[in-house]
């Protein structure tokens, strides 16, 4: 029917149709079995890679933020620790001063008490010794007196004594 010459061969419309149809069927089959799955997978993969890059970026930022937070926390802790140490030192020195003060006061108190005691004892001892000295002096005096009396005097004294004794007995 449509048979005319192109470069020396006859044109077969039937062949053209056959080629067209078989090519279209081939294209359709490839689309179903290979093209769709492979392009889907490639798209999925590119999406996944993009997501991975995004999430990697995000986690990197998070890590940086976290590191900064740690750093600042560390600094805070450092400051806090040095504050605590300073406070402890202060408290320690205060306490030391107070203890020293107390000890000094105690010592002073004890010293004054001891002085008082010593004074009292000294007074007592003084009083005692005074008494002793008095009696001793009396004794000594009596001894001296008795020694210096001559025989007459002694006789008179004995007489008077006896007289006194007699009076005493008479009154009895």
């Amino acid at each position: 029917m449509f048979s005319f010459s192109v470069v020396g061969t006859s044109l077969y419309i039937g062949n053209m149709l056959f080629v067209l149809i078989s090519f279209l069927i081939l294209m359709w089959l490839i689309k179903i079995f290979a093209w769709k799955p492979i392009t889907n997978m490639m798209e999925k993969r590119s999406n996944k890679i993009a997501n991975d890059i995004d999430s990697a970026e995000k986690s990197r930022n998070d890590a940086v933020k976290l590191a900064q937070q740690r750093q600042s926390e560390l600094e805070n802790t450092h400051q806090e620790a040095s504050g605590i140490i300073a406070q402890a030192k202060q408290t320690g020195s205060n306490q030391r001063d107070q203890i020293l003060d107390d000890a000094r006061k105690d010592a002073a108190l004890m010293k004054s008490t001891a002085q008082k005691d010593i004074e009292q004892q000294r007074q007592e001892a003084l009083a005692n010794s005074r008494k002793d000295v008095a009696s001793l002096s009396v004794e000594i005096a009596s001894k001296i007196i008795s020694k210096e009396l001559n025989a007459d005097d002694q006789k008179a004294l004995v007489d008077s004594y006896i007289e006194g004794l007699g009076k005493q007995n008479g009154s009895k």
């Binding site: 062949n15 090519f23 069927i25 081939l26 294209m27 490839i30 689309k31 093209w35 997978m41």
Partner: protein, 237 residues
């Protein structure tokens, strides 16, 4: 390659049995290759998937070098199928030629102008369709009158020359390759044992060159088709 062909008439249309068998065989080979490569598609590509993805990227690259946007996405499948089909068609005749009593039944389908012309026609029809879809009827047909009205003759003539050159370039390259291969084979068969020794390296060398030509032509066909389509889609002002 033989000049005689087996034909039959059906519904008033003439069919060439040799072409039909060759085209079918090429289709089956392409489908089997792609089907085998596309099994077990996973996120981490295996061997077959890598090959297939490389092919897809390659043909997408060809299409995207000339076109962009939605049209390029739509033409991805067309570029992939056309490239593979033409590639297999070009190489098929180098591997396998079946002649039965002087009539060729299996050969390179692209060594027949009818088939290459069909592909050229498909390309140019696609170009017209995509041009109209993108720019509308008015814009599309007005572009024939640019840069000025007299150019309408040149532009319409250009459509025909595009069609002819696109089809005949492919046909000529592959046909010439097979023709020379046929002559070398005839020489070997007709000249006795000595000619076998002489023509074997010749045949080897020419087959290698034909494989190279076949690959290049498949690439060129898809590239030029994309360029023609891009001419119709992106009208220059």
């Amino acid at each position: 390659m033989n000049e005689k062909t087996a034909t039959f008439q059906f519904l008033g249309l003439t069919f060439n049995v040799g072409n039909m068998v060759s085209v079918l065989l090429a289709c089956v080979v392409v489908f089997c290759v792609v089907f085998a490569l596309s099994r077990h598609i996973t996120m981490k590509p295996g061997k077959g998937q890598n090959v297939l993805e490389w092919l897809v990227d390659f043909t997408n690259g060809i299409v995207r070098s000339a076109l962009s946007g939605k049209v390029a996405n739509d033409l991805g499948l067309w570029g992939f199928t056309t490239f593979l089909f033409i590639l297999i068609s070009n190489l098929q005749g180098l591997l396998l030629q079946v002649d039965v009593s002087g009539v060729t039944y299996v050969k390179s389908p692209t060594a027949d102008p009818i088939i290459t012309m069909t592909f050229a026609l498909l390309t140019l029809t696609l170009a017209q369709y995509l041009g109209i879809r993108k720019n509308g009827y008015k814009q599309h047909f007005l572009s024939y009158f640019k840069p000025f009205k007299v150019f309408v003759i040149v532009n319409i003539f250009e459509e025909f020359t595009n069609f002819l050159t696109l089809g005949l370039r492919l046909f000529g390259n592959i046909f010439a390759g097979e023709m020379l291969l046929g002559i070398i084979t005839k020489m070997a068969v007709g000249g006795g044992p000595l000619m076998w020794v002489v023509s074997l390296p010749l045949s080897l060398a020419w087959q290698g060159f034909s494989v190279f030509i076949g690959c290049i032509q498949a690439f060129i066909f898809v590239t030029l088709s994309s360029v023609y389509i891009s001419h119709k889609v992106d009208i220059e002002e």
